[in-house]
Amino acid sequence: MDVLLEIKELHTGFRMNDTFYNAVDGVSLSLRKNEILAIVGESGCGKSTLATSIMGLFDQRTTRIQGEILYQQKNLAALTEEQLNEVRGLEISMIFQDPLSALNPLMRVGDQIEEGLIYHTDLSKEERKQRVLTLLQQVGIQDPKHVARQFPHQLSGGMRQRIMIAIAICCKPKIIIADEPTTALDVTIQAQILDLLVELQKETGAGIILITHDLGVVAEVADRVVVMYAGEIVEEAPIKELFLHPQHPYTRSLFHSIPQMNKKSDRLNVIEGIVPSLIHLPRSGCRFADRIPWIPQEAHEENPQLHEISPGHFVRCTCWKSFYFNTRKGERYV
């Protein structure tokens, strides 16, 4: 297996009142070549923090990153800002959620795409301009010459996201991190952008880390899925395995919360309680235990680990074995 990126025991903590609270707490995962790895979870589970840690986009005075992020024998977590700049944009690039706030409002989009080329390549001005036009064409823009001279506010949301993607792929990176790339878009545009991402990935063979909270998006494009809860990975599996046989109580509860056409009951499953805030996160035992109080304490592991229950399918803690849903009428179902 060609492993592109390997994360080992990553802890990212934020400083609050002189103590560090880990938002990402011991995450290990690997990204392979030609793969779309989806990271799913609700807000506050640490999925965006994980992405930003890989890119090194945090203020180092207020955050603490421990652990290793290995890319081609280099530990990205230990690099200085200058060394990171050599990697960012060239080898690893990022697509942000909100293209309007990620793009520079005072620069023509063509120039913004060119920026990465100026920094990382020795192409001449003519060659760069040419490359920008090919890139725009590649991301499905009809009239690249005209669009390159426009400002972000003159473009629609879908077009802006296409520009973001063009910026991300301008130096043919090996890894693309897409942080909620379609959340701000309409469904029709979302479908187009996702198709575009998959197509580009097939062409370039890059690995994509797709961060999203939308399980529908995951089902449409991902190859492998990591489910995060409260800073930890709770389940990791190939796409079909996860959607057909989800095991961890959290994953299963999430699936039952999706409104679906062919469902018999019209009540959606609700996960009891709320996602604990960073300060009140339980740091020992099963972090999901509080939200499934009807499962006896003995079912949880004292120190929950990821267990491989079938090839490539990892589940944290042992509570999934005795998990069942509770309806309000007191019925149990699995």
Partner: protein, 315 residues
Amino acid sequence: MSFMQIHNLKVHYPVRGGILNSVVDYIYAVDGISMEFEKGKAYGLVGESGCGKSTTGKVIIGLEKITAGRICYEGVDVTNSNNHRKSAFNRDIQMIFQDAHSSLNPRKRVQDIIAEPIRNFLKLTPKEEKRKIHELLEIVGMPEDAKYKYPHEFSGGQKQRIGIARAIATNPKLIIADEPVSALDLSVQAQVLNFMKEIQREYGLSYLFISHDLGVVQHMCEHISIMYKGRFVETGSKYDIYKNPQHIYTKRLLSAIPNTSPIGRDERKKERILVEKHYQENVRKYFDRQARVFDLVPVSKTHFVAATSSMKGGF
């Protein structure tokens, strides 16, 4: 029988420009829509951003001025007459906003937020008012001591429930819900949706559910209208729209919804590209010369689609 009818509603915003800042053009935000509301039913309004669905909600409740058309509430014409603050219409139509956080006054306690419609519309003694607030908090499943807190002390789902408590305080007949769950996480969304269904059943409420999320709309609503550029392209029951879509725009919208099953996704993608191609090729046929959507013609008793009469059989 329907208790409220909207007839050929239009909202046009003037575009000013030129030398004397005169009106040079209009934006047709809502351009001639008609709806009827029956008791205890939920109506869905779906469309892309900018299609005028939020404007429709706002105009019904009276936050925007109507350019043309009529709103009849229980036989009374209430078009643009909402400055009578204590009118029955204002009491019976309430709204739930998309962003619960910015729709709650940060400087008021929860009890004052919920009490506002009560003080406006119901004449209660302070004691009765207190009891009513307790009752409302209980309905939305919040602890009693929540009434002394401020909005920022609650999570997103709880804030949305406070917004709902405020909306149902006057026992309304119709609640306009403008993207009530799109800012919420999946499990919290489930909680709010369940709850909205429950109070609907209990109090015979009607909803106008405005959303861009077709999954949520089909879960909540029996009757769905698809909107495009300020006009309806298709309206019908849930099954009409999902199982038997007629208009090309509806088909395209439906094919773009991600399915939550990874099986068969490659076929779905092919299908999606096919529909998109078909859409690009034939889109002109479905709109008139000014790129306006045609008027609705009936397909069946419940199902209407925008088409010219000559196209009626030709879908």
